[in-house]
């Protein structure tokens, strides 16, 4: 119950920060700083893939409602929610992630490198899919590539800052407790 409440609050905070802080920053037309999808990355290891995708859809749809453009962010979120379990399975030895820690972080994934790789790949996929859908009608491939690269770089920077500031205390959980 406490866990659920934590995730609901986190969901609301991510949406509000994204819409009312980051979307208001007009750095350049090329760059949109996105961090709200960190919510998906921070969801527990144990979550099944189908509920994961449904929650991701809900998150994306909330962002879309504020931008009055339904579908774009929802599609990108569903994509990274679908890819996340594959990546985690690839990066982490199965038994560690299943039992000891609750959600992905530098500590629980057994190294900053592995965690950052996960975040980088998912950030890139999210941005690429989002801008691909948006740029569908324009068909300007270089614009699309540069925009994806720059936005991914800015997102990564923000995510690293968020990780450093907000220290999620990850308890080491054992089966005996």
């Amino acid at each position: 119950m406490k866990e659920l409440l934590k995730y609901i609050v986190r969901f609301a905070l991510f949406v509000l920060v994204q819409v009312f802080v980051l979307d208001k920053i007009h750095l350049h037309q090329m760059i949109t700083p996105y961090i709200y999808f960190l919510f998906i990355i921070w969801l527990p290891f144990k979550m099944q893939r189908t509920p994961l995708m449904l929650v991701a859809f809900l998150l994306g749809f909330s962002i879309d409602s504020f931008r009055h453009n339904p579908g774009f962010h929802a599609a990108a979120c569903v994509l990274i929610a679908y890819i996340r379990p594959f990546l985690i399975k690839m990066l982490v030895a199965q038994d560690i992630s299943e039992t000891n820690y609750n959600e992905p972080s530098a500590k629980s994934m057994g190294g900053t490198g592995a965690y950052l790789f996960l975040v980088l790949v998912l950030t890139f996929l999210h941005n690429a899919w989002l801008f691909f859908l948006e740029a569908w009608q324009f068909g300007d491939i270089w614009y699309f590539i540069v925009k994806t690269m720059l936005s991914t770089a800015i997102s990564m920077l923000l995510i690293i800052i968020v990780e450093l500031i907000f220290n999620r205390n990850q308890k080491f959980r054992t089966n005996t407790a």
Binding site: D23, T32, T50, H68, F72, A75
Partner: protein, 286 residues
Amino acid sequence: MRNIFLFIRRYFNLLVFILLQAFCVFLIVQYNRFHQAAFGATANRITGAINQRYDDVGYYFRLKKANDSLLKANEFLYNKLKENYTLPDSGYKTKIDSIRVDSILQFRTYGYYAAKVVSNSVTSQNNFVVAYGPNIKYLNEGDGVINMNNAVIGIITNITGDYAVILSLLHESKESTITARLFKAGEVGTISWDGKQPNVLTLNNIPKGTKVVKGDSVVTSGLSTTFPKGLLVGYVDEVYEEKSSSNYKIKLHTAADFTSLEFVYGISSKHADEVKELVKKAKAKL
């Protein structure tokens, strides 16, 4: 039959993924078609209310800017007053009409209704402005919207309660509905946006040979019921010759500053329904 169930169970995640993606793409395609808002009214109302709260705070800090802008608009209107002009006929006398009927009213074709911008974006590929105000009820979907200094902002796509969602000029436009006229040359073309910079538009379908110079103003054509004639759209920046056609491609910079919108006016045409009806009848005869 059993195999089908086994298949579904085996690939359930993949199927859910594909279904959700398909639904998203359906939403994108459905919504982008102009005037076909598949989006729920509740979503608009909820986000509208939250946006309004946020804007209430932000507005306080932008009061100075809003003030300056209002001053400019007022100056423009003062200059238009009849008292500022001397009539060429020196023998005229003012007579007061004793009939108590507003004779102007029947000739009014457009009404202007003010609204406050509560949310605005310029960075996505389709940008929307949300406006709020008690006047919204006089406006309809498809009505044009201008800013305080008579520059075109966009067209209303959706109205729920006191909120209006406006599709700004900054949207990818396959079927652009906004036509514009070169003020000096008089040629009419269509306005589109390439999705890159929030203050650069393109004017298409201007035939080669038209006299265009950098700095020429581009105004609304008045050929549709959306906007009256002569509202500013932008100023010519560069003129390119399209190789494959006999048209110019003209880059404009917008007259309106889309990054700082405070108040907007919705323009409701009194003849819109009549014109629509006529066109419908004409189409039926074909």
